[in-house]
Subunit: 434 residues, 2 copies
């Protein structure tokens, strides 16, 4: 029995490692087209910042570890040119064919490349791979650019405003629409705009960029342009092999993460996942989800029957020192999905002032008719992951608003408050619902 | 209609305030025997430390605010001598009688006073009231004691080790048993012992103290003794009036927090609460619970029908910089309640090293036969409230171990990890259960 995994990062390697733990006899081959496997892409902005000194610190595990400790044949520079499911084999770009019994597609995503004139200009950078990061850091260290334009208001674009400001550059951020982080939530947009302004970042929303010549930073043209306009799932290889693509544009999978082709699974940034709040497939590429999907796909490929339960889209990002956490669907994001909603938004200290308590905003949204909790948004300088994750667990457990209001949370002055901001928001929401 | 509340702190004032919000016509009288109402007792150690400069900072709301803004007649120095339920009145120590239609008993708890010879010695202090705190801080400021003995290994005793060490004293801690924080959990005891040793606190367990002459600090007799041997519920007034006392020694209540006497409610540190894991009444006096019980008792006294859902016993304490969080029943604490258990304990970084990630220990316990999650213990220098509260929400929502393992939590390097320590612990626990 041979398992072939296409893709050597979060989802692919999680699948391979889990399959190995469950089946010590399985032959496992991982094919990675790039030169590096198993790296923590989310850490790249902090390598640019300088906080991560060497890229190797972002290497989660080495090829050697996979080969010797786990007996997984990890190959880099191994680009798959075609999947031939009829004969259960993949063809590499160099011509080699590798047969499989089970296949996990974990081809990930690539940066979206909006049709921008001049995007091959040497001032233009992306930030997905180690090579991207090395090139950008070298440029910053050696050329000392002064003015950066960032195209895209997603995670990387926003994280990089902080990094580039910290490195002393003037920064303009261009977003094609008015939905930073892809969210319609009004409180979120307002908080981000305020924070960017406070940190001297010029924010241009509803400004799709067609040519580099449109960009200006501090009244002049930028000497650094970062393309961070989101990601597109790498589905072409799968689609050509007859794997069904969902409406989101990513690979469609069932709850066991199997595609329409028997024995072929998909996981991570190339695949859809069930959104637990809408009950519909969604495309929300995140490292957390990729790792979890990989584990489940690997288990099923190794003969188990495991279910991937779906996602809440829980995420957090730090933007110029401001933490923004989201889980489920809050405010306008729930309304955009067709829910009739009630939202409560409160601001409270997240711990006592004498322990440097910071203000935190919590917004909770429920469905008006049923009172069902739909999601939460948390914004602040401290304690944001904490509250976001409490709300995520409440959503997962299907807590009612009354149950959330009475949730027995921990308190002591150095760490928390006697009425946690999440509980205060739940109190407000219950009043609005009754 | 008149509501009388006995006790002017967390539970009593929460009850009064909630009743007012629900019924603007109700007459509300709060009788507090002490000189101060509405203070945050949990902050007293940090007043002794000096971080809280004035006691007024720990005053949550003033009597004036209650009187004018909420039209609640709050009286201090008003000691109730008897409850006469047959005639629906309370008699004050001075002789005055006040009739009631509804009564909320929120008499709180008092420091346990183990039979110690010499406890009236001027070197002996407690820490429950503003007066206690003023006396202790003045003693520290003026007399500059060098050697402190703390009697009791509960929250206050342990918090005060940190405070007194920070003020430069030598400190010995005496515990009557080997269960600091009242817990049988082995990992907890070990972590606390290690931390106290590292901070130069001499820990004496299984050492019930009968006379001050037994105490030694740094080889000599202490010049400061702090009595912190736990709390006893103030139930005498209620018991004399015919209110039923439960097996825990605290006032027995139903799920609406009504006692056996119709129209008489009890809330806070004088009352029992249903423990959600054991399904039995428990006595776990905490400020969080007192506030929540007060709200429910106040609502029911004002004519609503609300249910207090019970407690998980979620708590957190900081001991010499180490956070210790507990929720539900973990490890030996679950076994002590008769459960046949499986526990997983893991240690992991709670965020990336390049964001000063600290190691955190998470222990999760489940019932062996059913796989039901019973509780968690979290120990570390950062992120402890966060993980404790995620586990609390998971317990509240009845998440299975598999659901917890796949919980969609937030990740970004500055705040969290791609596999949160709670998820890693759940993975381990699932393996042990299967």
């Amino acid at each position: 029995m041979r398992l072939v995994v296409i893709g050597g990062n979060a989802a692919g390697l999680s699948a391979a490692a889990r399959a190995r733990r469950l089946d010590r006899w399985l032959e496992i081959v991982v094919l990675e087209k790039g030169p590096v496997v198993s790296y923590a892409a989310c850490g790249l902005p902090y390598y640019i910042e300088g906080r991560v000194r060497r890229l190797e610190e972002l290497q989660v595990a080495s090829i050697e570890e996979f080969r010797t400790k786990r007996r997984i044949d990890v190959r880099t520079g191994a680009e798959v040119a075609a999947i031939r499911h009829a004969s259960r084999e993949v063809a590499l770009a160099g011509g080699e064919r590798i047969g499989y019994d089970k296949l996990v597609i974990a081809t990930g995503a690539r940066p979206a490349r909006p049709g921008i004139q001049g995007r091959d200009d040497p001032r233009v950078f992306a930030l997905q791979t180690f090579a991207d990061a090395e090139r950008l850091r070298a440029f910053l260290d050696q050329r000392r650019p002064r003015r950066a334009a960032i195209i895209g208001g997603g995670y990387i674009g926003l994280e990089m405003t902080e990094v580039l400001r910290a490195r002393g550059l003037h920064v303009s951020l261009y977003s094609a629409d008015d939905r930073l982080l892809g969210s319609a939530n009004g409180s979120l947009q307002e908080a981000l705009a305020r924070r960017l302004e406070r940190f001297g970042v010029a924010l241009h929303t509803n400004r799709p960029v067609r040519s580099l010549s449109e960009l200006e930073v501090d009244g002049r043209e930028p000497d650094l342009v970062l393309l961070a306009a989101g990601f597109r799932p790498n589905v072409e290889l799968a689609a050509e092999a007859g794997v069904e693509i969902g409406r989101t544009g990513a690979i469609r999978v069932d709850e066991r993460l199997e595609t329409n082709l028997t024995g072929v699974y998909a996981a991570g940034d190339c695949a859809e996942a069930l959104h637990k709040i809408t009950g519909r497939p969604a495309y929300i590429p995140l490292g957390t989800t990729a790792n979890k999907m990989g584990r489940v796909a690997g288990a099923n490929a190794a003969g188990r029957r495991e279910r991937f339960p779906g996602v809440l889209g829980t995420s957090i990002v730090r933007v110029c020192g401001l933490g923004v956490g989201m889980t489920g669907l809050a405010g306008e994001d729930a309304r955009a999905e067709g829910f009739d909603t009630v939202s409560a938004r409160i601001e409270a200290l997240e711990r006592a002032e004498y322990f440097w308590g910071a203000k935190i905003t919590v917004e909770l949204t429920a469905e008006r008719r049923t009172g069902r909790l739909l999601g939460g948004l948390v914004i602040g300088e401290r304690g944001v992951a904490h509250r976001t994750n409490v709300i995520a667990a409440a959503l997962e457990g299907g807590l009612g608003v009354e149950e959330l209001e009475m949730l027995d949370l921990a308190y002591t002055p150095p760490y928390a408050r006697v009425w946690d901001p999440v509980l205060i928001a739940a109190q407000q929401l219950r009043k609005l619902l009754s």
